[in-house]
């Protein structure tokens, strides 16, 4: 086996023999679907017969592999979830990869296989793609961009403007798992029980709750910036978001690790959870629908919308004090002691 069979080289991005070999031996067999096999500059896909939702996101995570997922799984789930949260049903994804010379092809293959598996879970096709190679030292192994198109059926659309006083705030499961897992993997910290990323496509769970509660007031996945960030987006106009600290679903590991590193799980990223605002009367139905799905078994009502004229996001502690849940600033850095 030659060097060029083992690692990505600049020649793989050159459009020549090695590029075609990469397409034929890695991308096509792994992502396999009829649209991709056309091998045109654009994939021609059948009309979906509805309005379309379109989104794009780029993924630069380090380390590339972590417990519960890898950059490939994230790149599919993240874009699928962006479509899902806007109320669309994900259908087609494009994949753009920027590879750093020196990346082992076996690693690229693993990442692609993980993307294909996540796409299958999410019921989407990876219909078109592009690859560029940058010199060694100018990238972080691999960067992935995915863009997605989804069906946007007519009907009631969730948007934060529909949030009302008295609404319940729910979260579909434990929080903080992804961000702390990445931090621990990056710092090579081991915990027992281990931290695991929650990266997962949310289309099915969201569909289940949408079916049970047609009038969802707002829906959002708390990725970067965590639950705190979404709570800050949802408050305003005299409506405050009150989060009940004791109601937050936390895994034992997240609770302990956040304590050790001095981080607040409310600010930590999730990749397989979403938050909902529903009317008080829809709360039980929404919670039941979430909990009857495997991805939602730890779902909980974590707060409510309060009309107090302040328009803040805050946390109420079980012993009666309150604290502001400010917008997160900069990156969360582990504390000194």
């Amino acid at each position: 086996m030659s060097y060029t069979d083992e690692v990505i080289t600049l020649a793989h991005g050159g459009g020549g023999r090695l590029y075609h070999q990469l397409v034929e031996e890695v991308f096509l067999p792994i992502f396999d679907n009829a649209y991709l096999r056309q091998l045109n500059d654009s994939a021609l896909c059948p009309s979906l017969g509805t309005a379309l939702a379109m989104t794009t996101d780029s993924y630069v995570v380090q380390p590339r592999f972590f417990p519960g997922g890898d950059i490939g799984r994230l790149a599919v789930c993240g874009t699928v979830n962006d479509l899902t949260m806007s109320g669309a049903k994900p259908a087609y994804l494009s994949v753009g990869m920027i590879l750093e010379a020196g990346l082992p092809i076996a690693e690229l293959r693993r990442i692609c296989e993980s993307m294909a598996a996540a796409a299958k879970e999410a019921g989407v096709s990876l219909v078109t793609g592009d690859t560029k190679v940058v010199e060694k030292g100018k990238g972080d192994g691999i960067y992935i961009n995915t863009a997605g198109i989804g069906l946007f059926p007519e009907g009631k659309k969730a948007c934060p403007q529909k949030i009302q006083a008295g609404d319940s705030i729910l979260v579909s499961g434990t929080i903080g798992d992804h961000g702390l897992c990445i931090l621990a993997a990056r710092e090579r910290l081991e915990f027992d029980p281990p931290l695991r990323s929650d990266a997962a496509p949310l289309h099915d769970l969201a569909a289940a709750v949408q079916k049970a509660v047609p009038d969802i007031h707002a829906m959002r996945d708390p990725t970067r910036g965590g639950v705190a960030s979404v709570a800050n987006e949802w408050c305003g106009n005299g409506l405050s978001i009150e989060i009940a600290e004791e109601a937050l679903p936390l895994s034992a590991s997240v609770s302990a690790v956040a304590g050790i590193l001095g981080l607040d799980p409310l600010y930590v990223a999730n990749e397989g959870k979403f938050m909902l605002a529903v009317s008080e009367s829809d709360t039980e139905a929404a919670l039941r629908a979430l909990r009857s799905h495997p991805l939602g078994e730890n779902a909980a009502v974590i707060g409510r919308v309060v009309e107090d004229g302040r328009g803040l996001a805050y946390v109420r502690t079980p012993y009666g004090s309150q604290r502001l849940l400010d917008l997160p600033y900069a990156e969360q850095l582990p504390r000194i002691c």
């Binding site: 029980p193 600033y329 900069a330 000194i336």
Partner: protein, 367 residues
């Protein structure tokens, strides 16, 4: 491997225990009292759990000089920046030093501009870097009190065993007693909450100078709400009785003798030195310098010329961090607080660290 055990925490965040302690404090509280929490981790916990709002009016908790990031002076930060800029150096430090401003720059800014600056959770990781990169110089910027100093000492011992040629430490460690001795006489502070993690290393008796020499009550406290309230209750009780004493309210972590191995290692590696504290000025014998036996690993010696040539950055003159660190001014009383100075654009060190009094006051500003 860290074992996660949520039950360990639950007991010290227990709602009914917290309520009971607040009730007891209210009953035994006998009039206006100012309690200084020396340590930044306490400051953060107090804000995080909203503890001030649970205490009787007149019982004030004020933040002291115990945030190691905040008290690192401009000259030392300037030296760090000068070293971090040198292309052959991999500059390593703890996460919250990154955003400390100096002039219009910071380690974070230098890192964005391409300097090789890495966040470590333990200085021992810097030794690994030194072995992986024999062609480069690895500098660890060491800050902190008796909590982090033993780790630096252990790292230096191991560096010497391994005879590493390309590892050095820029040492800005400080110790608490001399700062408190300089700060407390004449101040309106009635009692202290002493940092439990410092005492876990030094032992209980380390803080006995507070009642004996400074005539203030002190309680060694842990960091969960129950821990902090138990310590508040202890000093309120001592205050009401009119005496000054020291009580260990964190016995599950603090043994009377502390951690003799860690203390021995510090004594072996460090010697006391005069140190400049941001906001407090120079305090005799309040710092730790690398002793003669380990001087070959002292970055201040190895890079003497580069540090001497460095620009010294100055704080914004309107910044009142110094007064805040002395407990003479609340963060909100500083004219820059929340205006020119926010966590996104910190002017002074107290706004930078997650444990800084200003950052905590801003993040959890009153609602």
């Amino acid at each position: 491997m860290f074992k996660s055990n949520a039950a360990l925490w639950a007991e010290y965040r227990d709602k009914s225990r917290i309520k009971l302690l607040c009730q007891q404090i209210a009953e035994e509280y006998s009039g206006p009292m100012r309690i200084m929490e020396v340590c930044g981790t306490h400051t953060m916990s107090i804000y995080h759990y909203g503890i001030r709002s649970l205490l009787p009016e007149g019982l004030q908790l004020i933040s002291g000089p115990g945030c190691p990031v905040c008290v690192t002076d401009e000259k030392t930060v300037s030296a760090a920046l000068a070293l971090a800029k040198i292309p052959n150096i991999i500059f390593t430090t703890y996460g919250d030093m990154l955003r400390v401003p100096a002039g219009n720059t910071s380690l974070q800014r230098l890192r964005d501009e391409g300097a090789d600056i890495r966040i470590l959770l333990s200085p021992l990781d810097a030794l690994e870097l030194a072995e992986q990169h024999p062609e480069r110089q690895i500098v660890f910027f060491a800050v902190g009190f008796e909590t982090t100093a033993p780790l630096t000492a252990a790292t230096l011992c191991r560096a010497k065993e391994k005879a590493l040629q390309n590892f050095s430490v820029l040492c800005a460690h400080k110790t608490m007693p001399q700062a408190l001795r300089s700060l407390l006489p004449g101040s309106a502070v009635d009692a202290l909450l002493c940092p439990g993690h410092v005492a876990a290393v030094t032992g209980e008796a380390f803080f006995s100078f507070v009642p004996q020499d400074l005539k203030r009550s002190a309680a060694i406290a842990g960091f969960e709400p129950v821990d902090i309230l138990e310590a508040v209750l202890a000093v309120v009780r001592m205050h009401a009785q009119g005496g000054a004493g020291l009580l260990n309210c964190y016995p599950r972590a603090v043994r009377p003798e502390g951690n003799p191995l860690a203390m021995k290692m510090m004594e072996q590696v460090f010697v006391p030195c005069d140190a400049v504290w941001r906001g407090l000025g120079e305090i005799a014998d309040s710092g730790l310098a690398i002793g003669a036996a380990y001087r070959e690993f002292d970055a201040a010696e190895r890079f003497k010329a580069e540090i001497a040539a460095a620009d010294c950055y100055r704080d914004n003159p309107a910044c009142r961090c110094g007064f805040v660190l002395r407990g003479e001014c609340t963060p909100e009383e500083c004219p820059l607080f929340g205006n020119a100075c926010t966590p996104d654009h910190p002017c002074g060190a107290c706004m930078v660290s997650g444990e800084g009094a200003c950052a905590a006051a801003y993040k959890y500003r009153r609602i």
